[in-house]
């Protein structure tokens, strides 16, 4: 696992971070946070995911990779409660998670970003990030209408949390800009901010670097690593950029045609013959 995190993008910071990295290694990765057991997902006759099992440990960065149509996004949708698996079980902190609506899953502490940005275009950046806090706000209708007592205190307390996230992701300058006016790369960052504002125990990132140029990818990689380091957030991500995945993640699941063909550290996965076949093709 050592050396799997040499990010060539941010040299100066990287060496400093890597020194602490080795020391913290034993502590950083905790027990299993979420376990997926024999998950199968069918849409009518189409089997999108077939009998996949893997786990996500607390504090790690777990990647799911695979060619187009391998079932990666479906997998993420199962974890976030958008799809209910046809067979198999999800265990969250050791307990079987019953079928849930997505909003209930969000309240368990699972936050996510989307492949095609799903921000609330009519709202400002600040309001968008504030929506990430709404599972933490409990004030009733009357208190909110009067802007009094609990409602006002909550607004202020949560604004402080949100401002920390805004600082962290360096989007202070666009705080009050409507999201619709922002360029693509910044939108992706705002979406990450919204997910982070929820202080999730599991953060799902669906192609966080899709459609970005090299510089934006480097920024995003740095943010993902920093989030993991500073807040100890468990991250499960889907990404197509192999270099990024191999550098960022602690463990990788490889999927192809809805099956799991590899699972392990980036080095192990890189040497796995099935994975090489899936990505490079097989001579017939």
């Amino acid at each position: 696992m050592d050396g799997s995190r040499t990010d060539d993008s941010t040299e100066g910071q990287e060496t400093v971070r890597d020194e602490g990295h080795v020391v913290a290694e034993g502590r950083r990765i905790g027990p299993v946070l979420m376990e997926l057991r024999n998950i199968t997902l069918r849409f009518g006759g189409v089997v999108a995911i077939k009998d996949i099992s893997f786990d996500i440990r607390e504090g790690e960065i777990r990647a799911i990779i695979g060619p187009n149509g391998a079932g990666k996004s479906s997998m993420l949708n199962i974890i976030s409660g958008f799809y209910t698996p046809s067979e198999g079980a999800l265990l969250y902190r050791g307990e079987t998670r019953p079928p849930m609506r997505p909003y209930e899953v969000a309240r368990l502490g699972v936050a996510r970003t989307f492949q095609n940005i799903a921000l609330f275009e009519g709202m400002t950046v600040l309001d968008n990030v504030m929506t990430g806090r709404l599972t933490h706000m409990k004030a009733g209708l009357v208190a909110q209408a009067l802007w009094w007592g609990r409602a006002r205190d909550e607004e202020i307390a949560n604004r402080e949390v949100v401002e920390k996230v805004i600082d962290f992701l360096e989007i202070q300058a666009i705080r009050k800009t409507p999201v619709g006016r922002l360029p693509y790369g910044l939108k992706k960052r705002v979406e990450l901010a919204r997910a982070l504002a929820a202080e999730p125990s599991l953060l799902l990132l669906d192609e966080p670097m899709a459609g970005m140029n090299v510089e934006e990818k480097e920024d995003m990689s740095r943010f993902i690593l920093d989030v993991n380091d500073e807040f100890g957030t468990t991250i499960c991500l889907i990404e197509h950029d192999m270099g990024v995945v191999m550098d960022l993640s602690d463990r990788v699941v490889v999927m192809d045609y809805g099956r799991k063909i590899g699972d392990g550290t980036p080095d192990e996965v890189r040497r796995n013959q099935d994975v090489i076949d899936a990505y490079l093709g097989v001579a017939h």
């Binding site: 976030s80 409660g81 958008f82 609506r101 997505p102 909003y103 899953v105 969000a106 309240r107 936050a111 996510r112 989307f114 799903a118 921000l119 609330f120 275009e121 009519g122 709202m123 309001d127 504030m130 929506t131 990430g132 709404l134 599972t135 706000m137 004030a139 209708l141 909110q144 209408a145 009067l146 802007w147 409602a151 006002r152 909550e154 607004e155 202020i156 604004r159 402080e160 401002e163 919204r194 997910a195 929820a198």
Partner: protein, 358 residues
């Protein structure tokens, strides 16, 4: 220059989240409040009260209610007129069943009935969206107006089938009915509308407002960040119908004095919808601007030829009026499709940096 915000620093989040963080906005609002609370009532004639001030406020309140549902929560509704009717009939039943009841309390309570009815008709909104939901609310419109007509208990089995507002007094002063003075009614309406507006501003800028806007902008993402969509939508239906119901009670008790079931038919719904659209969906200010345009403009155009001494027959004035108002609506929608409130927002943005280009 007048609107320069430079130099107004916020040192706490509380200050930044104040109702009017920009000082000029607060000053402007204070001037408007002074006008509507102090100056207008002193200067206004009976005619101005009855054709301009009172109806503009009531229509603005109804549009505000609709705006919460359509503009903030994104649920299109064509049943506003009927929900106003529920408020009006509920208020009528309350003051006739319990004559000792304070009329203003009755008006505020009548909103609860329309909120309940609104929630009932809002249940389909989880499954149907957009135009299809509009059709579902249209069903509410037809059903409720039919009910107002057929259910004699609602209008105390009057021979006319209409509801007639009795004389109602509050602390010895008549506030509704034939003996109430316009000035008193104006102040009652203004007080209720001011209160409702303040509450709605707070709701829309707080957590519930963000929940609604998230539901409107992208419902799938909203659900995945922890919003219970059904709850969010029903809450919007409830709050919206409450405000609309109160507006309906004011409409009959403080302005019309009597109402037949067909008063609450589709034309009323459309009128309120037009006010909300032209004023600007998803804004509070827009409802007032829209109401001034839709309610106030025809009155001004009607009286203008007479005031100027032009020899035009009243029938011609009526026709011209319809044409001019229609053309103006189209004109405003072309120059700013997002409504008058957006127009003001753009002007304000320009004023903040004026005289510099950017």
């Amino acid at each position: 220059m007048l609107y320069r915000t430079a130099g107004q620093f916020k040192t706490s989040y509380k200050a930044d989240m104040a109702l009017f963080p920009v000082r000029q906005d607060a000053v402007l609002l204070a001037v408007i409040l002074a006008l509507v609370w102090g100056v207008f009532p002193l200067l206004a004639s009976e005619f101005a009260f009855q054709t301009l001030l009172i109806p503009i406020l009531i229509y603005a309140l109804a549009a505000l209610g609709l705006n919460i549902l359509t503009g903030y929560a994104g649920q299109l509704s064509l049943g506003t007129g009927a929900f106003m009717g529920v408020g009006a009939y509920a208020c009528y039943k309350m003051v006739t069943l319990f004559p000792w009841m304070n009329p203003v309390v009755a008006i505020l309570l009548s909103g609860l009935f329309s909120a309940g009815v609104g929630v009932m008709f809002g249940i389909p909104s989880l499954r149907i969206k957009g135009f299809y939901l509009a059709i579902a609310t249209l069903a509410a419109q037809f059903f409720l107006v039919w009910l107002f007509e057929k259910w004699g208990w609602l209008y105390n089995d009057n021979a006319s089938g209409a509801i007639q507002v009795p004389n109602l007094d509050m602390f010895g002063i008549y506030v509704a009915g034939p003996q109430a003075s316009s000035l008193v009614q104006y102040y009652v309406v203004l007080a209720v509308v001011t209160l409702m507006t303040l509450l709605c501003i707070n709701l829309t800028r707080g957590n519930l407002g963000r929940t609604w806007k998230a539901t409107r902008d992208m419902d799938i993402a909203a659900e995945l960040i922890g919003i219970n969509l059904l709850r969010s939508k029903l809450m919007a239906f409830a709050v919206s119908s409450y405000v609309v119901g109160v507006a309906g009670a004011l409409f009959v008790f403080m302005w019309r004095g009597a109402a037949e079931p067909n008063l609450f038919d589709i034309p009323l719904s459309f009128r309120v919808l037009f006010i909300a659209i032209i004023g600007g969906l998803g804004s509070i200010l827009g409802n007032y601007l829209g109401a001034i345009l839709i309610v106030g403009l025809p009155v001004v155009l009607n009286t203008l030829p007479q005031a100027l001494g032009l020899p035009i027959s009243s029938a011609t004035v009526e026709h011209l009026n319809v044409m001019i108002v229609g053309a103006l609506i189209v004109f405003f929608l072309i120059i700013e499709p997002h409504g008058l409130a957006r127009l003001w927002a753009l002007i304000r943005e320009k004023l903040i940096i004026w005289p510099f280009p950017h």
